[in-house]
Amino acid sequence: MKYTQNLSPDERKMMRSVFWRSWTMNASRTGATQYHALGVIYTLLPVINKFYKTKEDRAEAIVRHTTWFNATMHINNFIMGLVASMEKKNSEDPDFDTSSITAVKASLMGPLSGIGDSFFWGILRVVAAGIGISLASTGSPLGAIVFLLLYNIPAFIIHYYALYGGYSVGANFIERMYESGGMKILTKVSSILGLMMMGSMTASNVKFQTILQVSVKGSKEAMKIQTYLDQLFIGIVPLAVTLVSFWLIRNKKVNVNWVMLGIMVLGIILGMCGIC
């Protein structure tokens, strides 16, 4: 816990309060113009109360944070830590430019969410769900529990270090990570893991079975088309359907709902023709 060593007991208490409040940051809703601004204010109240003594200063700090805020959960704590350290500086230094606090929030939201969304939603959740689904498919309640644990244990650790890291390291950390090329490697290997899990889950979760049979002259038994499909390549139809959907969504920019509707219509047509 190298981050907490430099903090005074008072600051430690404040940060602990911020840490627990930050879990509810995305809970409240005040519409599209503010998004999670209310959650941000709620999270930062201990910081504002500690560093500002007069009612006017506190109100000013609260108003400053009523601006639109939305960033990926957990990684958004890095911004909270950063903002907390800037509020501290602002309370000590009368020449501090308060617009830089808003600027840091606005400029970090996008890039951090980009990393956060693909890591939390694209990789961590997918790996956890892959394992969870395979357990739950047997009817075991362990599926959901393992899924929650696999997702939330890493998330909790990141949630913690993002906050304290942001508070003590500062804004140039992200820049250094980009310059050293570490970010590129991280993106690449996480994509590899994500894609492997995608492939594995396509094979186990997309299902297709045709009941079509062709009777052949001279042979007593009808030939099952499914057997031939399996000899060609196991799961060729699910793989093809997935890749076509992917191509439609990514390259043709077709709305997802249309693709879903298309598959439902395809299924009904296949059923009416007696193929499935």
Binding site: S28, A144, S191, I192, M198, M201, G267, G271, C276
Partner: protein, 271 residues
């Protein structure tokens, strides 16, 4: 039916509102929603199986930047409730989840972007006045209001929808039902397609195929594929780091030879 409708609304509230109170802990995912709904409705096994299938369908339905195509919680609760309480086959219930999810997504988008705006001036006012207690109250108050409204969608859906849905399902001919089952089997493809959009890189596409083959042919369980994936990731990261080091040394090395003519460089290239 009233009890079922109330239990369905409760399941939505527990999973959806709970999810946002615990830092988006993924309680809102069908895998968990299915289990919770199953427990409340008294048929845990069906709930879990529905959850597993729905998770695959809605896997790609990620809530990025606040835009969602379908709302998985309401979809999971309503379709699981139908599967448990009205004897609709699980595959047919799965296809029901899609239109329900889209409809719910529309309501949710309207709620969070338009309706909840009525609280924005309230926040502005209490922020100017620095009233902290009101801020805390507004934070949890809007949380309750928002998710109670969302839960009521499921209440209405189950309370009013069960009769018509049952009647409708009875009149569907068998081959259409088979088709719906087939569609239910293929629908997860869309979920994976959406996620792949997030991760895809033409150079890394072979890893998708690797994952597919390991499961379809080698029949490895998901845990083994994930573990193997981590091994590959570490190996790739190590070689990338070595490559980065070599590249930076190479840059430093070539900087000493800036006097090299174009011809010499060409020779160097072909040697």
């Amino acid at each position: 039916m009233l009890t079922n409708a109330l239990l369905a609304a409760l399941a939505v509230f527990i999973c959806f509102a709970g999810n946002y109170l615990t830092g988006q802990s993924m309680m809102e995912r069908p895998l968990v929603v299915g289990l919770v709904t199953g427990l409340l409705m008294g048929d845990m096994r069906t709930g879990i199986l529905m959850g597993a299938s729905l998770e695959a369908i809605f896997l790609g339905n990620v809530n990025i930047g606040g835009v969602i195509a379908a709302e998985p919680v309401t979809a999971s609760v309503i379709s699981t409730t139908f599967a448990i309480t009205s004897g609709v086959s699980t595959s047919a219930a799965l296809t029901l989840a899609i239109p329900v999810g889209m409809l719910a997504a529309f309501v949710v988008m309207f709620l969070k972007n338009v309706f909840m705006n009525i609280f924005a001036p309230v926040l502005d006012k209490i922020a100017r006045e620095g009233k902290e207690k009101q801020i805390v109250a507004l934070h949890y108050g809007t949380w309750i209001i928002y998710y109670v409204i969302i839960s009521s969608i499921s209440f209405i859906g189950i309370y009013a929808g069960s009769g018509p849905v049952n009647e409708f399902v009875k009149t569907i001919p068998q081959n259409v039902m088979n088709g719906l089952n087939a569609a239910g089997g293929l629908l997860p493809a869309v979920g994976f397609a959406m996620l792949m959009k997030l991760l895809w890189d033409n150079k890394l596409a072979v890893y998708y195929l690797l994952g597919f083959i390991l499961t379809a042919y080698v029949k490895l369980p998901a845990v083994a594929v994930a573990a193997l994936g981590i091994v590959i990731c570490v190996a790739v990261a190590q070689s990338e780091i070595r490559f980065n080091k070599m590249a930076s040394e190479g840059v430093a090395g070539s900087a000493n030879k800036t006097a090299m003519t174009a011809e010499e460089e060409e020779e160097d290239f072909f040697s």
